[in-house]
């Protein structure tokens, strides 16, 4: 059994364990969850260190590591052939970092759920189920398996927001659910279409194998998504339609403007640990999906629409940042900042330069723990006084000095201060995007400059917030009562925050920790996407 499978199914076993333990032993749940998350983190760290940086993966099966491939479903459909679904998992440069990120963010999420009392059993078992699903999404190499994990991810999230959320939790949960379901239903259509277009070169059967889908030679002649057949659906090129549908499905998750309005609501209503997971990992599933599925399976289309993707990226960066500037709810501000920061991922991807794509990957990793940290910090405040409106606080620095230091670090790290990870990510995304016009002509230079304006705006909303909430003379809406409630960060909170600060610093000072792992895959990915031109 591959270590990846352990990583995936360990939390599922723990979830069952939590369900079995009687409610009388409530306190045990948290320790089970923490224990499992720690083991996962150790495992992920081991995988990270054992990962061979020479192997690229992407479209070459033998380039994947920790592979496990087992036949799962074999269904004879009569004249339609055999339905072949494999349990096929493996990691390459694009997934290995996300495993580490997921393990870390999950641990932080468990630490952040310490104060949850309502139906703890259900909460933690859903959290662990979610953990399994996310790990699965990042390593699944069979489209069907990917889809199953992808959908399984949705369910626990829906409940976690809908039951444990804030005042408007049901509205937010439905909105989140509808948006994502809208994306995934059509994804299912494309998946089925791809299944019937692609055959396994060895067995000749139709296959869900994603790697086979990346090779134009495996497409059945005359099938819907065949490269040469130029199949049409509703008068549009089928491959273009397929790309757009998949892109929308994942872009909703990223999210892009204008498909982003689920995010502020979901974030604001979700309990702190779920906000952490949403921003920390869920958004990255979108970015990962675009790389692994959209770009890799439809490289010909990806090249044609690069301009549009770059534009969407720039619009998201600036639109998200301007919206963040208008917010009065701290959590909503952080949510919009996520929209803005994830825009860099699209901009970097669209550039299709090594700098741009590495920058985009780095941005996803960096934003993963920085946004987790930001939401955790909002949660710290909310836990104490159940308020997070910016104008209800002032001069927090005087009564919560350590908390203020953490917030300042998180803000400055997020706005791209050198020394922290986001700086390397954003700088190289922009440099890569700028470079694109000279290297491959995919996106114009002004887009890079537009992205740079986003960096400026992010400084504006973060510093303004610092000024309004933390500095000046202390003045709180809740008066002296709040002053008593607003205690500085405690040991458990520090335990969650310090590793994230250190990680942001570590990656910022030694970017090789990320770049070395992804470099081979990035180059091979660029080769895969751009070779259709030659």
């Amino acid at each position: 059994m591959s270590l990846l499978s352990v990583l995936i199914f360990l939390p599922l076993c723990a979830a069952l364990l939590v369900l079995l333990v009687p409610t009388a032993y409530k306190t045990v749940y948290k320790y089970i969850a923490i224990g499992v998350s720690m083991i996962q983190l150790l495992l992920a760290v081991y995988l990270y260190t054992a990962f061979d940086t020479e192997l690229a993966g992407v479209s070459a099966m033998d380039g994947y590591q920790f592979v496990e491939k087992l036949p799962w479903i074999r269904l004879n459909l009569g004249n339609l052939g055999t339905l072949e679904v494999d349990y096929f998992v493996g990691a390459d440069g694009f997934s290995i970092l996300f495993l580490l990120l997921t393990a870390l963010v999950m641990l932080v999420a468990v630490l952040a759920s310490w104060k949850i009392d309502k139906q703890l059993k259900g909460f933690l078992s859903l959290l662990l189920l979610l953990n399994t699903a996310i790990m699965g999404v990042f390593v699944a190499l069979d489209f069907f398996l990917f889809y199953v994990f992808y959908e399984v991810m949705l369910l626990p999230l829906y409940f976690l927001i809908g039951i444990w959320g804030g005042v408007r939790r049901e509205y937010a949960a439905i909105k989140f659910f509808l948006y994502t379901l809208f994306g995934s239903v059509f994804m299912l259509l494309v998946m089925v279409g791809l299944y019937f277009s692609v055959t396994d070169p060895i067995t000749g059967n139709h296959t869900f194998n994603i790697l086979h889908m990346m090779d134009s030679k495996n497409y059945v002649e005359g099938s819907v998504f065949s490269w040469i057949g130029n199949g049409q659906l509703f008068g549009i090129s089928a491959r273009l339609l397929g790309f757009i549908i998949l892109f929308i499905a994942f872009a909703i998750k990223v999210p892009i403007v204008p498909l982003h309005t689920w995010l502020p609501d979901a974030h604001v209503e979700a309990p702190t640990p779920i906000s952490i997971i949403l921003a920390g990992i869920l958004l990255k599933v979108g970015g990962y999906g675009i790389i692994r599925i959209c770009y890799s399976i439809f490289p010909d289309i990806a090249l044609n629409v690069a301009w549009w993707i770059g534009l969407i990226g720039v619009v998201s960066i600036i639109y998200g940042a301007l919206n963040a500037l208008a917010q009065q709810d701290l959590k909503r501000l952080v949510a919009y900042s996520s929209v803005s920061h994830m825009g860099f991922v699209l901009l970097g991807l669209a550039s299709l330069t090594p700098e741009g794509i590495s920058g985009a990957m780095f941005q996803m990793v960096s934003h993963g723990f920085l946004s987790a940290m930001l939401f955790f910090l909002v949660g710290v405040l909310y836990d104490r006084v159940h308020d997070r409106m910016i104008y209800n606080f002032r001069g927090l620095a005087s009564i919560m000095p350590t908390y203020t230091v953490f917030v300042a670090v998180a803000f400055f790290a997020s706005l791209g201060l050198p020394g922290f990870s986001a700086f390397i990510a954003e700088a190289f995304t922009i440099i890569g995007a700028f470079n694109a016009e000279s290297v491959n002509g995919l996106i114009p230079r002004w887009m890079a400059i537009g992205g740079a304006v986003g960096i400026l705006l992010s400084a504006a909303y973060f510093l303004w917030t610092l000024q309004r909430m933390f500095f000046g003379h202390t003045r709180l809406k809740g008066g002296s009562q709040w002053e008593v409630l607003l205690t500085d960060v405690n040991r458990r909170e520090k335990l969650a925050l310090v590793p994230m600060v250190l990680l942001a610093l570590l990656f910022g000072i030694m970017p090789a920790l990320v770049f070395d792992k992804i470099n081979a895959s990035v180059l091979s990915f660029i080769e895969l996407v751009s070779r259709v031109n030659h």
């Binding site: 259509l189 819907v224 309005t261 890079a448 470099n519």
Partner: protein
């Protein structure tokens, strides 16, 4: 790429220069509130100074040193981190640490008893580290890192008294305006990287560097396989200059600097002298081969305009630190002009001399403010301790401070025997020589500089006379006698050191001719300029003649109290006093519209985007109702069983907004099944 195998003395020394303040930073970070003494920080900066003397002795006029270790790799490009030591970085290292040390020592007295003193030392150490790192960086990327860290540290220092709302507004403003500049820097880096695929300063801007070797035929700017339209060369230069404009407070980005006076005065002295504002000028000199004629003219024009504008504002300010702040902006304008006319060595020369006398001016102002603050607290006065209208006659109470201020003021006005005389004359003379080669209009630049230097003499004389001559104006109001005291020795000794450095012997054995200065000789002079002898005699005479006249007028007005009442209260006075109304313009012309725009976008988000989503779900619901009705009244009547099923579905969909979870799962799987079924039908061959 050389690895750090054998560490030679200068490299080791340079590492010590850089990391001593960083170690101090970590000491303060780890110790927290307990560590209130400044000894670790002072020790660190003293070590830095010693080590930079070693570096200077090895490097000055010797061989440049470039050492690098590999840092990371993206694609096929490797990125290194290392240091580049040559005349430029050696003199800057020396200057930064030589200014920082007296400021540190001065701070022990000036900041004594402040409850946040541990943070002060922490930030100051970070500030020095960042500046030293910026100076010795060997690549644009590292330089950018130091550049931003300097901005960050200054943000912390300006907002040191974070409960003061003016201070935190000022530091936000400083950081944001610097961010605009960072944007320029980043775009510049992106252009360079696109063209040359490297960040390495030596490879790019060295003697046979890529930038000099790149071809420019007026249409295309080409290096090797890479080329882009020649406009990008100008854009790159302009972008870097944008960065320098923000950092070195050039019009229209100078507005952060006067506000930055909200920080402790010791910090102001550091920011205004050798760090922060010097970074912009330093960076431009470092990458100077990049600039084409358009960019150079732009730099010169902006510099000359800024110099004049800031001097006109300094004439009327009543806050002692604001006067000095505008004087800094003005002097930075001089340095920019020097860069614009291609005299990079002269720019650095003025940077160095200015650093000493401006730092001294600030420390003197600090001593005065310290004393006024003391009087205010002791006697419970409701005064602004920085307002020069409350001062006067301090010469008698603080004679040493007065003498040192006088030295610095003379240097700023550019009178002989001071260091300021040498560097300012150099800029003026070269500017006139340069204008010989330009069309007639460009004569405006040296002429405006000449006017500026006359104004400079006036405003600094006004400051000295108003603060130190006449009678203590506090006295007039009430019967009580005030006795300000001389600053303590801990403050005076650092000031004395700076005072000595503001005189000519440090720079040249000849007090009158700048060309003899060793510092200028350390930089290559452009060969294009022909020496026009006449300028070398006429200009110093003109500058000094004007200065003496101006000082005399100031003496009559402010020391003798013969100020022509009423004649200078008009629109021009108001225009100058309100700093050309630029802050007002930014606030109502840029900030408010931007915030309004962002609010509008948020409204769009709520109403339009979300509204659309609502519409779609509403439509779906309508459809559900319709089908429900259809089921009940049409289908139901025909096929009973089928109708029942549909009824259930319709009911489910109708309930889809009531939050009944099991329905959603059920409907989701139903939809999945239908889609799967349809898919099989559509796609199966």
């Amino acid at each position: 790429m050389e690895q750090l195998g054998q560490l030679s003395t200068p490299i080791l020394a340079a590492l010590v220069v850089l990391f001593a303040p960083l170690v101090s930073f970590f000491i303060y970070a780890a110790a927290g509130k307990q560590l209130r003494t400044g000894i670790p920080a002072i020790a660190a900066i003293a070590i830095s100074l010693t080590a930079s003397i070693v570096v200077f002795c090895h490097v000055w006029n010797g061989e440049q040193i470039h050492q690098q270790i590999s840092w990371f790799q993206i694609g096929e490009h490797a990125f290194g981190a290392g240091m580049l030591l040559n005349n430029l970085s050696a003199i800057m290292l020396l200057l930064v640490s030589a200014i920082a040390l007296p400021v540190h020592i001065y701070s022990t007295i000036y900041m004594k008893g402040d409850s946040g003193i541990h943070r002060y030392w922490l930030y100051l150490s970070l500030f020095c580290f960042a500046m030293l790192g910026l100076v010795m960086a060997d690549s644009l990327l590292l330089m950018y890192i130091g550049w931003e860290l300097v901005g960050f540290a200054s943000y912390l220092l300006i907002g040191f008294w974070f409960t003061k709302s003016a201070a935190i507004k000022a530091n936000k403003k400083a950081f944001l305006i610097n961010r605009i500049g960072d944007l320029g820097f980043l775009v510049g880096i992106a252009v360079i990287y696109t063209q040359f695929q490297t960040f390495d300063l030596l490879a790019l801007f060295g003697e046979h560097g890529m930038v000099r070797e790149a071809l420019n035929d007026g249409i295309e700017w080409r290096y090797g396989e890479h080329g882009m339209p020649v406009i990008w060369l100008s854009i790159a230069g302009g972008a870097f200059f944008l960065g320098a404009m923000a950092k070195s407070a050039q019009f229209p980005f100078h507005i952060w600097l006067p506000d930055a006076m909200e920080g402790p005065t010791s910090v102001s002295s550091l920011i205004h002298a050798a760090t922060m504002v010097a970074a912009g000028v330093f960076m431009l000199v470092r990458i100077s081969p990049l600039f084409d004629d358009h960019v150079l003219l732009l730099i010169g024009t902006i510099g000359a305009f800024t110099a004049l504008m800031a001097a006109t504002i300094a004439l009327t300010q009543q806050d002692i630190k604001k006067i000095l702040a505008f004087s800094t902006i003005s002097q930075l304008g001089f340095m920019m002009v020097a860069i614009g006319i291609g005299q990079y060595g002269v720019a650095i020369f003025h940077l160095v001399t200015h650093a000493f006398f401006k730092c001294l001016l600030f420390l003197s102002a600090g001593a005065v403010i310290h004393e006024m603050q003391h009087l205010k607290e002791k006697n419970n006065l409701a005064i602004d301790p920085q307002d020069i209208r409350n001062m006067g006659g301090l010469r008698k109470y603080m004679p040493h401070t007065f003498r040192l201020t006088l030295v610095a003021a003379l240097a700023l006005a550019g009178l002989p025997l001071t260091a300021g005389y040498l560097s300012k004359d150099a800029i003026l003379i070269f500017a006139f020589e340069w204008s010989e080669w330009q069309s007639a209009w460009w004569k405006l630049i040296p002429i405006s500089l000449l006017i500026t230097s006359a104004l400079t003499a006036f405003y600094i004389a006004r400051l000295v006379f108003k603060v130190f001559y006449g009678k203590l104006r506090l006295q007039r109001n009430d019967s009580q006698k005030y006795h300000p005291h001389e600053a303590s020795r801990g403050m005076l000794i650092p000031m004395l050191f700076l005072g000595l450095c503001s005189l000519f012997p440090l720079f040249s054995y000849n007090p009158l001719i700048f060309e003899d200065s060793w510092l200028i000789k350390g930089f290559e002079l452009p060969e294009t300029l022909e020496r026009v002898n006449i300028y070398h005699t006429v200009i110093p005479a003109a500058v000094n003649g004007l200065a003496i006249v101006m000082i005399f007028i100031a003496w009559k007005w402010y020391a003798k109290g013969k100020y022509p009442q009423g004649s200078f209260q008009g629109a021009l006075y108001q225009f100058s006093f309100h700093q050309w109304y630029l802050n007002l313009f930014y606030e109502s012309g840029l900030v408010k519209p931007l915030l309004g725009f962002s609010k509008m976008l948020y409204a769009i988000d709520r109403v339009v985007v979300d509204g659309l989503v609502e519409k779609v779900t509403g439509l779906a619901r309508l459809f559900a109702y319709a089908s429900h009705w259809f089921d009940r009244s049409v289908v139901d009547a025909v096929v009973n069983g089928m109708g029942k099923t549909a009824f259930v579905i319709g009911g489910l969909m109708r309930g889809s907004r009531k939050g009944k979870i099991q329905y959603y799962i059920f409907s989701m799987f139903l939809v999945l099944l239908i889609v799967l079924f349809v898919g099989l039908k559509v796609f199966s061959p």
